[in-house]
């Protein structure tokens, strides 16, 4: 019978907190960048001319249909060779995670925007509003209501996906776990602790999502 000994982790808590900080930092930055990319790409995909929307479709499908780990490794090892620019692991991770998130967010935004009845656009036009204002004032607020569950879902995935940065030696939570395991020979305690930490961060997020969904849907 295995005897659990979490006290063995005591000297490493500093590293664990640091790793968690990196994980949260990467999540926040790449979620924000991904949302910005996704919003822009989503709008251009619905309203842009063909010579814009077709290449963007290509971008989305490439990032949706290849594994994130492959993208990360490719951007870190292959891309610098091709374009002759050295890229730090942190930059490669930031770039890849943002583009990856952006491709998924773009499809969520596009779906949400297209789900809004055409009559809403017409009603805006009929009172003399122009496209941009109709989009900001009428379409987007309703689309976001439709999109909230998918956006939260994707954001939760994004936090979990940041664990892949450990493969290129960025010091996130999972990476610190492997470092501590190598030093303490306590993999069960280490990985259990890490799993609990991921859960403790993400579970409240799902509760907030439920709350938000209820509140936004109140006037439906």
């Amino acid at each position: 019978m295995y005897v659990w000994d979490f006290t063995a982790l005591k000297p490493y808590w500093g590293l664990i907190w640091h790793g968690l900080g990196i994980t949260v930092l990467y999540t926040v930055i790449t979620v924000l960048a991904g949302l910005a990319i996704g919003l822009a790409v989503g709008i251009l995909r619905t309203a842009g001319p063909r010579w814009v929307s077709v290449p963007l479709r290509g971008y989305i499908e490439v990032f949706r249909c290849t594994p994130l780990l492959v993208q990360l490794v490719w951007v870190y090892y292959a891309l610098p060779v091709l374009i002759g620019v050295d890229m730090s692991a942190a930059t490669a991770c930031f770039l890849t995670l943002s583009l990856y998130a952006g491709s998924f967010y773009a499809e969520i935004f596009r779906g949400g925007i297209e789900a809004i009845d055409r009559g809403q656009w017409e009603a805006g036009h009929a009172i003399g509003m122009r496209e941009g204002r109709i989009f900001r004032r009428i379409i987007l607020p309703q689309a976001i209501q439709v999109m909230v569950p998918s956006l939260i879902n994707q954001t939760i995935m994004q936090l979990k996906n940041t664990s892949l940065v450990s493969t290129v030696a960025v010091g996130d939570l999972l990476y610190q776990g492997s470092v501590i395991t190598a030093a303490s020979y306590r993999p069960l305690e280490v990985y259990t602790t890490i799993a609990v930490l991921y859960f403790v961060v993400l579970f409240p997020l799902t509760l907030v999502a439920d709350q938000l969904e209820n509140r936004l849907g109140a006037h439906r």
């Binding site: 009559g119 009172i127 003399g128 122009r130 006037h219 439906r220």
Partner: protein, 263 residues
């Protein structure tokens, strides 16, 4: 009525969707303060024609003048830009069959959205205007409700108030009672009658023949993309000439046409 200067001139409007020629040269001249109703079978082009009057549909050919706004469509003519379209629509209100209220805004916010966003009216002033208009359509107590809380008839009255808030020169009504339960139709028609009495210039597309006969100065019968017959309401509805109009009206007769009408 005929002495008043025309506020709306539509000339030889053509509109096709792909190979389907929906409007084959429709013209209409409307005097200020006049109420014109368009009737006809579904697919006759009446709704498309109405939507060409605020250019929600752009004609392929023809001319449109409403107040100071002038547009010409046809080969080699540059279509209107978005700014010109927006300026036209400030002066032409439209009410839709399916209301199209903004579900994420309160009733009052729906009504003041146009004045505040498009005309840059101060919110406080717009709110006063909005409350007046809601009172006018009998919904003063619903200002803070959300559209989802309203009946169909109430929604449509809010939509009318929203259009009126822009102080339009012309109001377009596109089958505004067709989506309503029968018992809710009267409250919407009453609001439109009041507008007619106030002298609002209106063009209506409707299947409410009795109402059309009662409220309109003129009725136009559209069939297969042309204005097949147009004239004083009493003549068109009670003394139809065009055989297709006779057949069309016969389908409504027992149900809705009053025996006699005083215009």
């Amino acid at each position: 009525m005929t002495q008043a200067p025309p506020i709306l001139v539509a000339g030889n409007i053509h509109k096709a969707f792909g190979a389907n020629q929906v409007l084959k040269g429709v013209s209409l001249l409307v005097a200020r303060g006049e109420v014109v109703t368009l009737i006809g079978a579904s697919g006759s082009g009446k709704s498309t024609f109405l939507r060409c009057l605020n250019l929600l549909e752009l004609p392929q050919h023809g001319e449109l003048a409403i107040g100071a706004h002038r547009f010409a469509f046809g080969d080699g003519k540059r279509g209107p830009d978005k700014a010109q379209l927006a300026l036209l629509r400030r002066d032409v209100g439209m009410v839709f069959q399916h209301f199209n209220l903004f579900p994420h805004m309160s009733v009052l916010d729906n009504v003041i959205e146009g004045p505040v966003q498009v005309k840059n009216m101060a919110r406080a002033e717009a709110k006063d205007l909005g409350r007046d208009l809601l009172a006018k359509v009998g919904l003063a107590d619903k200002a803070d409700s959300f559209p989802s809380r309203l009946s169909g008839g109430q929604k449509q009255r809010v939509a009318i108030a929203r259009a009126l808030a822009m102080k339009p020169d012309v109001m377009l009504f596109d089958e505004v009672t067709s989506a309503l339960d029968p018992e809710l139709v009267a409250e919407v028609l009453a609001v439109i009658s009041n507008l007619a009495a106030d002298g609002m210039t209106m063009i209506l597309v409707t299947h409410e023949m009795a109402f059309a006969a009662d409220v309109s100065n003129r009725v136009g019968f559209m069939s297969e993309g042309v204005m097949a017959e147009i004239g004083p309401a009493a003549d068109v509805i009670h003394r139809p000439q065009n055989p297709r109009l006779v057949a069309f009206l016969n389908r409504f007769h027992q149900r809705t046409i009053p025996p006699k009408v005083g215009v």
